[in-house]
Amino acid sequence: MTGTALLFLVLGLGLIGWISGRARAATFVRSAKSGPRGTVNSLPYYHGWFVAICAIAPALAFMFVWQSISPSLVTNMVLSAPAAADLPQEGFARAAILSEARAIAQGFQTAAFQGGSEKLVPLYKNALSYYKWIGVAATLLLLFAGGAFAFTRIKPDFRARSKVERVVMFGLLVASLIAILTTLGIFASLIFESWRFFSMVSPFEFLFGTEWNPKSTVTPGADNGYGAIPLFWGTIFIGAIIAMIVAIPLGLMSAIFLTQYASATVRKWMKPILEILAGVPTVVYGYFAALTVAPAVRDFAVMLGVSNAASDNALAAGIVMGVMIIPLVSSMSDDSIAAVPSAMRDGSLAMGATKSETIKQVLLPAALPGVVGGILLAVSRAIGETMIVVMAAGYTANLTANPFATITTVTVQIVALLTGDQDFGSPHTLAAFALGLALFVTTFFLNYVALRVVKKYREAYE
């Protein structure tokens, strides 16, 4: 019996528990109607849910725990057999033989390649089925015990509803706690792996070094090529400078045009088109940047007389990233301009100012905090963007302000460092986590400031 089959069996038995609990409560309702006294506290289906929850919840919890502890129990049982005594003591070979024998016993693999693994197969088969049946029996036992316990509790005055609702509230709370768990998980994994990285490479070199050329074996104290300054610069240059030079004017002017000048029909058609721009996957933008924009930019540079223009230049990636950001800047500016009280605008127009004068001298200064908040959010989106720069920008670290040169970014290097079959503990892999930590902290800070600015500004006009 596989895990899935057992899961369906448990759920099916839970359904039977639901039906029988409900049926039993329904008889109370009938007798309460015809009988002389008393009413039933809860509706019948609450009794059904009570039985079902009491039956399923412990069984599922046990299945989950068993799933995680049974592999080590199986391994222990196999190792305690006399046939396992002549296994090599050295850790790696031993683990390889064991895992192969296990794979064959489970039917994932048909032939043995490691010496000595095939004689462990029957042992594994025995141990696996032994513990599997213990697990199945215990699961079903828990299920029936829980169901029977709940079934005997069902009485006309039993408060099934409040019990079930307490479980529901608990479920709601657990669902919201997953967000905290995820945040903690991100924090913990990034910090833990970065700490391992910084025990090999000094944080000073990482944060202030100007040479990025990571070596796969590190020597403490020496220069190992883990200076991340060129990466930080590349990220800022592409994401916060080039992309913003494209996105801020276009996004802001689009928002102004659509909210202040365009007719309702134009607005109705243009807004979804801008939203499509936001919905195009980044891998498509990346492909477009690499295939069409980058060669065009290089030809343009050659025409200008820049001889060393690269085909994976920073400008192409930045321009395309800026276009991707336009809808974000536009919608944030739109919101902030709409939040300016109309009395201010009407007053300015009544004094004889033209529309553009009103926009430039009244609306924009009033909406500025909101617009700035939107731009900060856009910067945070741009520096965390991965696919466009992976496909269009280069892999070579370069500390230059020449937009036609190859420049690499933090996200590109994270992808590059995790490419290939490297050991998880190698400095390359861990460096990716250190870069991830830097990225996470930066975007977290930008988002926090941006949300605070926007919120404060909203309150000022409310």
Binding site: T183, S189, E357, L377, T411
Partner: protein, 416 residues
């Protein structure tokens, strides 16, 4: 103070007004230009993809004469039909037959004319129609990628020459590339297909939806309806708002460190991909769900409470059904974003060469956007149009999902 009133008809004033109106027109034109530029960029992007990608759905085929009775030493239709068809076809050495047939017909240029999967195509044709084997037949088979590129646009000079020679004999035609819709990744661009990547994407999305939707909806209900004002609630809110803005690649790092390394789940499987994307999509659903729940008017809740419903009943019997269209709209938009996401999937190892569609949730698989990324990296010219064609398929699905969300919003949106 100068007592004379402003002379509005004076020359200076007229000039100034004209200047101000000109500035007004310039400003408006700049706004129009901004919108137009964005639109032009989008149109240019879509047309580029369409122009290149439509060729990816086509393939070049070559006519090959098969003298089956001679080539197969008199195999009968009965022998290759029925329950033993598989074994009989396997014993026929179809690759050898194809090589022989094309060698007889095209002589010295026959080397490398056909794509690697051509023998498989012949096998399928015989399987579908066993009576072919009893007579001489002319079959159209897909050509090698180099010739394909040369026939559609311009390729290497060598291939161009071959194509010109073949075209003179009227031996080439353009057909619809079914393999592209049904096949998997391959090293030869004329034999690749997107079905495997598409199925991987579907399975990943299924896991994402199954986890992110219930958790997101329950969390939204809790935060909007029940959560007491305390520090824990504040922490939950901060986490959700922050998670919604965390770069997607960070979720990939989380998946790598927790699901793969800590829990030892199968690398590059739909299960891990779905889990990672579920963590990313959940905050989007929570935020959309909270807005939908918030827009249900309090009078509904008060009426339900007034006739004796418990707080849980109020929410699950009345608020949730009314908020569901809004929640679904947000969910579809979140799922569309997850479907186009590439970076986190690269982090959890979904970048391997997978030549077959996945069978289960723990099999190594690839996803549609990752497949696009992998093909875009190929040097072979034949992959350019395949990449664009895969992008067209992805965009059609994303636009369809977004259109569905807009339709749902317009159809079921209630203004209270």
């Amino acid at each position: 103070m100068d007592p004379t009133p402003t002379d509005w008809n004076g020359q200076i004033m007229q000039k100034r007004i004209a200047r101000r109106y000109a500035a007004e027109r310039r400003f408006k034109a700049m706004g129009f230009l901004a919108v137009a530029l964005s639109t032009v960029f989008l149109a240019f992007l879509l047309f580029t993809m369409l122009g290149q990608g439509l060729r990816g759905f086509q393939r070049t085929e070559i006519a090959v004469d098969f003298d089956f009775p001679a080539l197969t030493a008199g195999a009968t239709a009965a022998a290759i039909s029925g329950p033993n068809a598989d074994a009989a076809l396997n014993s026929m050495d179809i690759p050898g037959i194809v090589e022989l047939a094309i060698g007889q017909q095209y002589g010295d240029i026959s080397e490398g004319l056909l794509t690697a999967g051509a023998a498989g195509n012949v096998r399928q044709m015989l399987m579908d129609n066993p009576s072919l084997v009893t007579s001489k037949q002319q079959l159209w088979l897909p050509v090698d990628s180099r010739l394909d590129v040369a026939f559609k646009r311009s390729g290497e000079p060598e291939a161009e020459k071959t194509v010109a020679a073949l075209a003179q004999k009227d031996a080439l035609r353009t057909g619809f590339n079914w393999t592209f819709l049904t096949g998997a990744d391959a090293t030869d661009p004329s034999a690749v297909g997107i079905w495997a990547a598409f199925k991987g994407s579907l399975m990943t999305m299924a896991i994402t939806l199954m986890l992110a939707f219930p958790v997101g909806v329950l969390a939204a209900l809790y935060l909007e309806e029940y959560a007491p004002k305390n520090r824990l609630t504040d922490m939950i809110e901060v986490s959700i708002n922050n998670l919604a803005a965390v770069p997607s690649i960070i979720f990939g790092l989380l998946g790598l460190a927790v699901f793969l390394t800590l829990f030892g789940m199968p690398r590059s499987s739909a299960l891990v991909g779905g889990l990672t994307l579920a963590l990313m999509t959940m905050p989007v659903i929570v935020i959309a769900g909270r807005n939908a729940v918030k827009s249900v008017p309090p009078s509904i809740r008060e009426a339900a409470l007034g006739i004796g419903a418990s707080p849980v009943q109020v929410v699950f019997h009345h608020v949730l059904p009314l908020a569901l269209p809004g929640i679904l709209t947000g969910t579809i938009i979140g799922m569309a974003r997850a479907l186009g996401e590439t970076a986190p999937l690269l982090m959890i190892g979904m970048r391997a060469f997978i030549p077959a569609a996945p069978e289960g949730f723990t099999d190594a698989t690839t996803a549609l956007p990752v497949q696009i990324y992998l093909w875009s990296d190929e040097v072979n010219q034949g992959f350019v149009e395949k990449t664009s064609a895969a992008i067209i398929v992805l965009l059609i699905f994303l636009l369809g999902m977004n259109a569905l969300a807009i339709y749902l919003r317009n159809r079921f949106e209630t203004r209270w």
